[in-house]
Protein backbone atom coordinates (compact mmCIF):
# COMPACT_ATOMS: atom_id res chain seq x y z
CA UNK A 1 0.00 0.00 0.00
CA UNK A 2 1.36 3.42 -0.97
CA UNK A 3 0.24 6.27 1.31
CA UNK A 4 0.39 10.05 0.84
CA UNK A 5 0.54 11.57 4.33
CA UNK A 6 -0.55 15.22 4.36
CA UNK A 7 -0.15 17.35 7.51
CA UNK A 8 1.49 20.72 8.12
CA UNK A 9 2.88 19.46 11.45
CA UNK A 10 6.18 17.63 11.04
CA UNK A 11 5.55 16.11 14.48
CA UNK A 12 2.19 14.68 13.45
CA UNK A 13 3.67 13.32 10.23
CA UNK A 14 6.39 11.61 12.25
CA UNK A 15 3.82 10.08 14.63
CA UNK A 16 1.47 8.96 11.86
CA UNK A 17 4.33 7.56 9.79
CA UNK A 18 5.43 5.50 12.81
CA UNK A 19 1.84 4.27 13.20
CA UNK A 20 1.73 3.25 9.52
CA UNK A 21 5.10 1.51 9.82
CA UNK A 22 3.80 -0.42 12.85
CA UNK A 23 1.00 -1.69 10.60
CA UNK A 24 3.52 -2.86 8.01
CA UNK A 25 2.97 0.09 5.67
CA UNK A 26 6.36 1.51 4.74
CA UNK A 27 5.74 3.16 1.35
CA UNK A 28 4.85 6.63 2.69
CA UNK A 29 5.18 9.96 0.88
CA UNK A 30 4.83 13.17 2.89
CA UNK A 31 3.45 16.63 2.10
CA UNK A 32 3.07 19.71 4.31
CA UNK A 33 0.04 21.35 2.65
CA UNK A 34 -2.68 20.66 0.08
CA UNK A 35 -0.84 22.19 -2.83
CA UNK A 36 2.33 20.18 -2.21
CA UNK A 37 0.16 17.09 -1.73
CA UNK A 38 -1.59 17.57 -5.09
CA UNK A 39 1.78 17.85 -6.83
CA UNK A 40 3.05 14.69 -5.10
CA UNK A 41 -0.17 12.87 -5.94
CA UNK A 42 0.20 13.59 -9.64
CA UNK A 43 3.90 12.62 -9.60
CA UNK A 44 3.55 9.39 -7.59
CA UNK A 45 0.45 7.60 -8.88
CA UNK A 46 -0.67 4.95 -8.19
CA UNK A 47 -1.32 6.05 -4.62
CA UNK A 48 -3.72 3.91 -2.62
CA UNK A 49 -4.50 6.17 0.30
CA UNK A 50 -4.30 9.83 1.31
CA UNK A 51 -4.27 10.63 5.04
CA UNK A 52 -5.37 14.24 5.03
CA UNK A 53 -5.26 16.96 7.68
CA UNK A 54 -7.93 19.69 7.49
CA UNK A 55 -6.32 22.94 8.73
CA UNK A 56 -3.17 23.68 6.74
CA UNK A 57 -1.59 26.74 5.15
CA UNK A 58 -1.55 27.37 1.36
CA UNK A 59 -4.32 24.85 0.57
CA UNK A 60 -6.39 23.23 3.30
CA UNK A 61 -7.50 19.61 3.39
CA UNK A 62 -11.14 20.06 2.41
CA UNK A 63 -10.08 22.03 -0.69
CA UNK A 64 -7.66 19.30 -1.72
CA UNK A 65 -10.31 16.65 -1.04
CA UNK A 66 -12.79 18.37 -3.38
CA UNK A 67 -10.09 18.94 -6.01
CA UNK A 68 -9.03 15.28 -5.99
CA UNK A 69 -12.62 14.03 -6.08
CA UNK A 70 -13.39 16.27 -9.07
CA UNK A 71 -10.95 14.28 -11.21
CA UNK A 72 -11.97 10.82 -12.43
CA UNK A 73 -8.42 9.48 -12.55
CA UNK A 74 -8.18 9.70 -8.73
CA UNK A 75 -11.53 8.06 -7.95
CA UNK A 76 -9.78 4.88 -6.76
CA UNK A 77 -7.66 6.73 -4.20
CA UNK A 78 -9.03 6.28 -0.69
CA UNK A 79 -8.99 9.43 1.45
CA UNK A 80 -9.16 9.45 5.25
CA UNK A 81 -9.44 12.83 6.94
CA UNK A 82 -7.10 12.90 9.98
CA UNK A 83 -7.87 16.10 11.80
CA UNK A 84 -8.54 17.74 15.15
CA UNK A 85 -11.81 19.12 13.70
CA UNK A 86 -14.29 17.15 15.77
CA UNK A 87 -17.75 18.60 15.07
CA UNK A 88 -20.42 16.56 13.32
CA UNK A 89 -20.89 19.28 10.69
CA UNK A 90 -17.24 18.93 9.68
CA UNK A 91 -17.47 15.15 9.50
CA UNK A 92 -20.60 15.37 7.35
CA UNK A 93 -18.99 18.00 5.12
CA UNK A 94 -15.91 15.82 4.56
CA UNK A 95 -17.89 12.65 3.86
CA UNK A 96 -20.23 14.50 1.47
CA UNK A 97 -17.15 15.89 -0.29
CA UNK A 98 -15.86 12.39 -0.94
CA UNK A 99 -13.77 11.34 2.06
CA UNK A 100 -13.96 7.58 2.63
CA UNK A 101 -13.44 7.88 6.36
CA UNK A 102 -12.76 10.34 9.18
CA UNK A 103 -10.41 10.12 12.15
CA UNK A 104 -10.31 12.75 14.89
CA UNK A 105 -6.85 13.40 16.33
CA UNK A 106 -5.54 12.12 18.63
CA UNK A 107 -6.04 8.56 17.44
CA UNK A 108 -4.36 5.26 18.23
CA UNK A 109 -2.70 2.86 15.76
CA UNK A 110 -5.60 0.50 16.50
CA UNK A 111 -8.14 3.11 15.39
CA UNK A 112 -6.13 3.74 12.23
CA UNK A 113 -5.92 0.00 11.56
CA UNK A 114 -9.69 -0.30 11.87
CA UNK A 115 -10.33 2.61 9.50
CA UNK A 116 -7.90 1.10 7.00
CA UNK A 117 -9.78 -2.20 7.16
CA UNK A 118 -6.62 -4.14 8.01
Amino acid sequence: MKVLLVDDSVTMRRIQKTQLNSLGINDVIEAGDGEEAYKKLTENMPIDLIMLDWNMPVMDGITLLRKVRSENKYQGVKIIMCTSESEKTKVVDALKSGANNYLVKPFTPEALKEKLGL
Binding site: S9, T11, I15, N55, S84, S86, V104, K105, P106, T108
Partner: protein
Protein backbone atom coordinates in the same frame (compact mmCIF):
# COMPACT_ATOMS: atom_id res chain seq x y z
CA UNK B 1 -20.38 35.25 34.89
CA UNK B 2 -20.85 31.95 33.08
CA UNK B 3 -17.45 30.42 32.35
CA UNK B 4 -18.69 26.88 31.74
CA UNK B 5 -17.10 27.14 28.28
CA UNK B 6 -13.83 26.26 30.02
CA UNK B 7 -14.95 22.66 30.63
CA UNK B 8 -14.62 21.33 27.06
CA UNK B 9 -11.06 22.75 26.93
CA UNK B 10 -10.16 20.97 30.19
CA UNK B 11 -11.61 17.67 28.97
CA UNK B 12 -9.87 17.99 25.60
CA UNK B 13 -6.52 18.69 27.30
CA UNK B 14 -6.83 15.63 29.54
CA UNK B 15 -7.82 13.43 26.60
CA UNK B 16 -5.09 14.77 24.32
CA UNK B 17 -2.34 14.16 26.88
CA UNK B 18 -3.63 10.68 27.71
CA UNK B 19 -3.80 9.56 24.07
CA UNK B 20 -0.89 11.48 22.54
CA UNK B 21 1.60 12.09 25.33
CA UNK B 22 0.76 8.87 27.20
CA UNK B 23 0.48 10.68 30.54
CA UNK B 24 -2.44 11.57 32.82
CA UNK B 25 -2.74 15.26 33.60
CA UNK B 26 -4.74 16.67 36.51
CA UNK B 27 -6.48 20.05 36.28
CA UNK B 28 -6.26 22.32 39.31
CA UNK B 29 -8.89 24.92 40.17
CA UNK B 30 -9.56 27.39 37.33
CA UNK B 31 -9.09 31.05 38.27
CA UNK B 32 -9.51 34.44 36.69
CA UNK B 33 -6.21 35.82 35.42
CA UNK B 34 -5.04 38.72 37.52
CA UNK B 35 -1.79 40.66 37.73
CA UNK B 36 0.99 39.77 38.23
CA UNK B 37 0.62 37.57 35.17
CA UNK B 38 2.21 34.12 35.24
CA UNK B 39 5.13 33.64 32.86
CA UNK B 40 6.22 30.77 30.67
CA UNK B 41 8.98 29.70 28.24
CA UNK B 42 6.96 28.23 25.34
CA UNK B 43 3.29 28.68 24.47
CA UNK B 44 1.08 27.25 21.74
CA UNK B 45 -1.71 29.68 20.86
CA UNK B 46 -4.84 29.10 18.77
CA UNK B 47 -7.19 31.91 17.78
CA UNK B 48 -10.93 31.28 18.06
CA UNK B 49 -13.53 33.06 15.92
CA UNK B 50 -17.20 32.70 15.07
CA UNK B 51 -20.15 33.52 17.36
CA UNK B 52 -17.55 34.00 20.13
CA UNK B 53 -13.99 35.29 19.77
CA UNK B 54 -10.85 34.69 21.71
CA UNK B 55 -7.93 32.34 22.05
CA UNK B 56 -6.63 29.32 23.88
CA UNK B 57 -3.01 28.89 24.86
CA UNK B 58 -1.10 26.04 26.41
CA UNK B 59 2.04 27.28 28.13
CA UNK B 60 5.02 25.35 29.47
CA UNK B 61 8.37 25.75 31.18
CA UNK B 62 10.96 24.66 28.62
CA UNK B 63 12.02 21.49 30.47
CA UNK B 64 8.41 20.32 30.71
CA UNK B 65 7.78 21.06 27.01
CA UNK B 66 10.82 18.97 26.04
CA UNK B 67 9.60 16.06 28.19
CA UNK B 68 6.08 16.33 26.73
CA UNK B 69 7.20 16.21 23.10
CA UNK B 70 9.79 13.51 23.81
CA UNK B 71 7.04 11.37 25.35
CA UNK B 72 4.72 12.11 22.43
CA UNK B 73 7.34 10.98 19.91
CA UNK B 74 8.74 8.19 22.09
CA UNK B 75 12.13 9.72 21.29
CA UNK B 76 14.31 12.18 23.17
CA UNK B 77 14.35 15.68 21.69
CA UNK B 78 16.21 18.79 22.86
CA UNK B 79 15.62 22.55 22.88
CA UNK B 80 16.90 22.84 19.28
CA UNK B 81 14.67 20.13 17.81
CA UNK B 82 12.11 21.46 15.29
CA UNK B 83 9.55 19.08 16.81
CA UNK B 84 9.56 21.11 20.04
CA UNK B 85 7.89 24.20 18.57
CA UNK B 86 5.85 22.26 16.04
CA UNK B 87 4.65 19.74 18.62
CA UNK B 88 3.50 22.32 21.16
CA UNK B 89 1.56 24.09 18.40
CA UNK B 90 -0.03 20.81 17.35
CA UNK B 91 -1.09 19.95 20.91
CA UNK B 92 -2.81 23.35 21.17
CA UNK B 93 -4.45 22.71 17.79
CA UNK B 94 -5.76 19.30 18.84
CA UNK B 95 -7.08 20.62 22.17
CA UNK B 96 -8.88 23.51 20.44
CA UNK B 97 -10.28 21.24 17.71
CA UNK B 98 -11.59 18.70 20.18
CA UNK B 99 -13.02 21.33 22.53
CA UNK B 100 -15.12 22.70 19.65
CA UNK B 101 -17.30 19.61 19.83
CA UNK B 102 -18.56 20.78 23.23
CA UNK B 103 -18.90 24.39 22.10
CA UNK B 104 -20.96 23.93 18.95
CA UNK B 105 -23.36 26.71 19.99
CA UNK B 106 -20.56 29.19 19.28
CA UNK B 107 -19.92 27.86 15.76
CA UNK B 108 -16.18 28.34 16.32
CA UNK B 109 -13.43 28.30 13.73
CA UNK B 110 -9.83 27.75 14.82
CA UNK B 111 -6.72 29.39 13.46
CA UNK B 112 -3.47 27.69 12.56
CA UNK B 113 -1.22 27.42 15.63
CA UNK B 114 1.21 30.13 16.65
CA UNK B 115 4.00 29.32 19.06
CA UNK B 116 5.61 31.91 21.33
CA UNK B 117 9.18 31.26 22.51
CA UNK B 118 10.98 33.28 25.13
CA UNK B 119 12.09 32.91 28.69
CA UNK B 120 9.47 34.25 31.14
CA UNK B 121 6.99 35.58 28.58
CA UNK B 122 3.38 36.37 29.51
CA UNK B 123 0.27 35.98 27.34
CA UNK B 124 -1.73 39.16 26.83
CA UNK B 125 -5.43 39.29 26.02
CA UNK B 126 -8.12 41.73 24.97
CA UNK B 127 -8.98 44.28 27.61
CA UNK B 128 -12.37 43.72 29.19
CA UNK B 129 -12.57 40.03 28.36
CA UNK B 130 -11.80 37.72 31.28
CA UNK B 131 -9.08 35.12 30.89
CA UNK B 132 -9.45 31.83 32.73
CA UNK B 133 -6.26 30.08 33.81
CA UNK B 134 -6.25 26.35 34.47
CA UNK B 135 -3.02 24.92 35.92
CA UNK B 136 -2.32 21.25 35.19
CA UNK B 137 -0.02 18.86 37.02
CA UNK B 138 1.46 15.69 35.59
CA UNK B 139 4.37 13.33 36.09
CA UNK B 140 6.22 15.43 33.47
CA UNK B 141 5.72 18.68 35.40
CA UNK B 142 3.34 21.61 35.57
CA UNK B 143 1.85 23.61 32.70
CA UNK B 144 -1.05 26.03 32.22
CA UNK B 145 -3.95 26.61 29.91
CA UNK B 146 -5.31 30.12 29.39
CA UNK B 147 -8.65 30.64 27.65
CA UNK B 148 -10.10 34.00 26.65
CA UNK B 149 -13.51 33.88 25.02
CA UNK B 150 -15.71 36.88 24.38
CA UNK B 151 -19.27 35.57 24.28
CA UNK B 152 -22.35 37.60 23.42
Amino acid sequence: MDVSYINPFISATMDCFKKMVFVDVTPKNPSLKNEPYPTYDISGVIGLSGDAQGSISLSFPQDVAIKVISSMLSAQINDKSPELVDGIGEIANIVAGNAKRGLSKFNLSISLPNVILGKNHAIGSQTGTPTIIVPFSSSLGFFSMEVTLKTK
